[in-house]
Symmetry: C2
Subunit: 473 residues, 2 copies
């Protein structure tokens, strides 16, 4: 990272830094307008991202064009919580705010960065592909050190993807799969190894569940990953209960993290108390260890310190940072996305369960056939009480669950915008909107179900066998 | 355990129970005096042991002949400590008492039982062998459920031995090996599998040591076990850092223990605080898990619930009990025996380092040749200041380190008694006593050194490879 300008910038005041970022932003725009060579633009964007990071590090706030720094607060690294702050950790999402969790505030508290237009443009330029609509639409809204991965990608340095899930039920619902859809996009764009951790040990520790049941759920969930279309030659799926017993490298990393994380830290971050079992208290280390490539010697040929990109809920951010890895990159989404009850993302209220999964049968294996009645009966609507009122005042996209789902699953930006406008103007009725949603979801879910039917125990075994993947290290 | 009389005894008062034990003791003595058939005597002894256990459970005190129950205290299971109590846990041994830790009081606090003459006689009868001098001399002084193992042995039910060590240095000194000498005796008497855990992960967590160094010490210590003469066909030695990565069964048991042990328990028992790392807090589960036979599917053919006998320091007692295993038998010695500085056992002051290991070069690899000067210079003596005074008043065996060592290493009871009497009377001088000690130790240590020289990496690998042992299950 020779172009990191930290050394020059440490002595600058917040206002001076603000001016440097503004200046560099103008430079980037000028280069783009003048159709400067790609290399030159990329270098300028990298410098801009670094300057923004320095600004953030110094002020604890994201750079916002036209808004000079004021009311500076100290960064507390997300480890303490003020009276009026939201509680967001891997096992709790609570807010006293009727509008839901304030993710902008959370970014500041966690000391991560907002995914802004500059980063998205840079990503598009680096990969030569249109960024995923989850990025374009701000569903993934925060990152940490994404420039490190892009730097690795551009310089053909190795890196890998790591994501995971706590297998809390046999069948996954559509909400569970959203982070994996996003991960699959990156797997295809970057063409790097992917490791997926199934924390069956975590579920056993937290839930009233036998160890056998947790392990069974892990294997069942692995089938859904196959149905998502992950490439078996590039993906290693592992259950902790299995893999910990087959990899000394993994356990060594767990112990290393365990030595450097203290009870008062996890107590502060995760709200553990003296009445918690000792398994919960040390568990964060098990979730942090896969971010070290030496946990997978069979994949990385024993190589250490390979950069790791983790698409994760922002509540996992602080957990991963506990690992003190210098090779960690995070891309974050709101924790609700993978919650057991599929709730609204940022912008929708986090306190309402839009689609209580038991009512909706919103699970893949029962979706087909019942989807339409489920959506028609249960999906919370932003429409008016009568057709006349709807035509007159229009619908409210901000609270409409059909719009929320379409934001996730309808890839066509123009079509989505068109639907939103028609709904807002009153031209499109709630029933018609729900029909569009059903038409969008049914083929997606049918395809998933079809692929899931094809999963055999042999395929699951292939995915879950520790082995070399289709990459040389 | 059809002969456990618990059902009848629950309604009895402490005094009534006391009378039942006394009565049964008299019955046993009468049977022995009358040379009754072996079966009849054994049944009576078993009943006596069960009655003593019931008495202990009810009163929190060991039965003592002629001393009816009084000043009854509630059993606190060793989890809390009164103001004037000694602090004894796996990482601390502290006492404010000048005479050292009061082990009788500790037995009551931990709720275990004293190894008494009845148990020793029963052991001799069951095995047909003279009990080890560590038992005869009260060095192993406490047990829990030893009758379960003896019952298993008599009825040809399977059981196994488990012991362990934290590998804190490359070379072990004689003090470290005392528990293993005892374990070897049981291995030969009972002819059952033995598992030895080397907690290199623990040493890494507790000490300022790299993970590689801790792992290296584990392998070096394994060489000393070979030198002790353990049979490779009956012994599995494992380093946690290695074995956890090769046995899913072991990890599953660890998680099971971790789920059922709470921070406030380990806090109370081991004195953990909020400033301790999370690895320490969950570590007790790793030391408890080998007491479940399913941690070693390769040895026990996947069978669960096989009785486990653990020769251990009494400070480990409460740790093992955290596992809530119903198949656990413990035989305890004072924690000092395996301490890094070889201190005195019960009866000797626990606060004095009799043989500071660095001064003494009391390690096996440097012992030979320097032993005599070490003993002559450093071994604390119970002798008088001048020969005249010694002849007149005699020596004090209770504080003499040579006598202490001879108690451990001189197997001949008559010879030991003779030496003690001669020293107490003043007939034997300190220099002469030290000469006897040197003559006793040198051949033992030389033999150990000779065997240790023969250890190859191949032998260590054999011991440490997870495999079936020479037993069918």
């Amino acid at each position: 990272m020779a172009d990191t300008p930290d050394c020059d910038l440490r002595s600058l005041s917040p206002l001076q830094l603000f001016e440097r970022v503004t200046e560099q932003g103008e430079k980037v725009r000028a280069l783009k307008a003048g159709k400067a060579p790609k290399d030159e633009i990329d270098a300028a964007v990298r410098m801009l991202l670094s300057l923004k990071l320095s600004y953030k590090t110094t002020t604890g706030q994201d750079y916002q064009a036209g808004l000079p720094p004021k009311d500076l607060v100290l960064i507390n690294n997300g480890t303490t919580k003020e009276e009026d702050e939201d509680l967001v950790d891997p096992w709790n999402v609570q807010t006293s705010n009727a509008k839901g969790v304030d993710y902008d505030k959370l970014i500041v508290r966690f000391g991560s960065s907002k995914i802004d237009t500059d980063l998205i443009i840079f990503l598009e330029r680096a990969t030569g592909q249109k960024p995923h609509h989850f990025l374009r639409r701000g569903i993934f809204f925060s990152h940490r050190d994404m420039d490190q991965v892009l730097d690795a990608y551009e310089n053909k340095k190795p890196f890998y993807l790591y994501t995971g899930r706590g297998p809390s039920s046999q069948a996954m619902h559509v909400g569970h799969l959203i982070p994996f859809m996003f991960t699959k996009f990156f797997l295809e764009v970057f063409d790097v190894p992917l490791v997926i951790q199934l924390t069956d040990d975590e579920k056993y520790l937290w839930k009233d569940m036998t160890i056998e049941k947790a392990h069974e759920y892990a294997r069942e969930n692995a089938k859904d990953f196959f149905a998502c279309g992950f490439d078996v030659n590039k993906t290693f799926i592992f259950s902790d209960l299995d893999y910990l017993g087959t990899s000394a490298g993994f356990y060594k990393n767990i112990v290393k993290v365990q030595k450097h994380v203290f009870f008062n830290q996890v107590k502060g971050i995760f709200g553990f108390t003296d009445s918690d079992c000792i398994g919960k208290i040390s568990f964060p280390a098990i979730q942090a260890a896969p971010s070290f490539s030496s946990s997978f010697p069979q994949i990385f040929n024993g190589k250490e310190n390979i950069q790791c990109l983790i698409p994760c809920a922002i509540d996992q951010e602080v957990l991963q940072r506990l690992a003190h890895s210098s090779c960690l990159t995070l891309l974050c989404y709101p924790p609700q996305l993978s919650d057991t009850a599929f709730r609204g993302p940022s912008g929708y209220s986090d306190n309402s369960q839009c689609f209580p999964s038991t009512d909706m049968n919103w699970f893949f294996h029962t979706f087909h056939g019942r989807a339409s009645s489920g959506i028609n009966k249960h999906a919370f609507s932003g429409g008016r009480d009568t057709i006349e009122e709807h035509r007159k005042y229009g619908g409210n996209c901000d609270v409409d669950v059909s719009i929320m789902y379409l934001t996730f699953f309808l890839e066509d930006d123009d079509r989505l915008e068109q639907l939103k406008q028609a709904y807002t103007s009153g031209e499109l009725l709630t029933g018609e909107l729900k029909k569009v949603l059903i038409e969008t979801m049914q083929p997606l879910v049918a395809a998933h179900q079809e692929r899931r039917k094809q999963v055999t125990d042999e395929i699951v075994k292939q995915f879950m066998t520790p082995r070399k993947l289709a990459f040389e290290f």
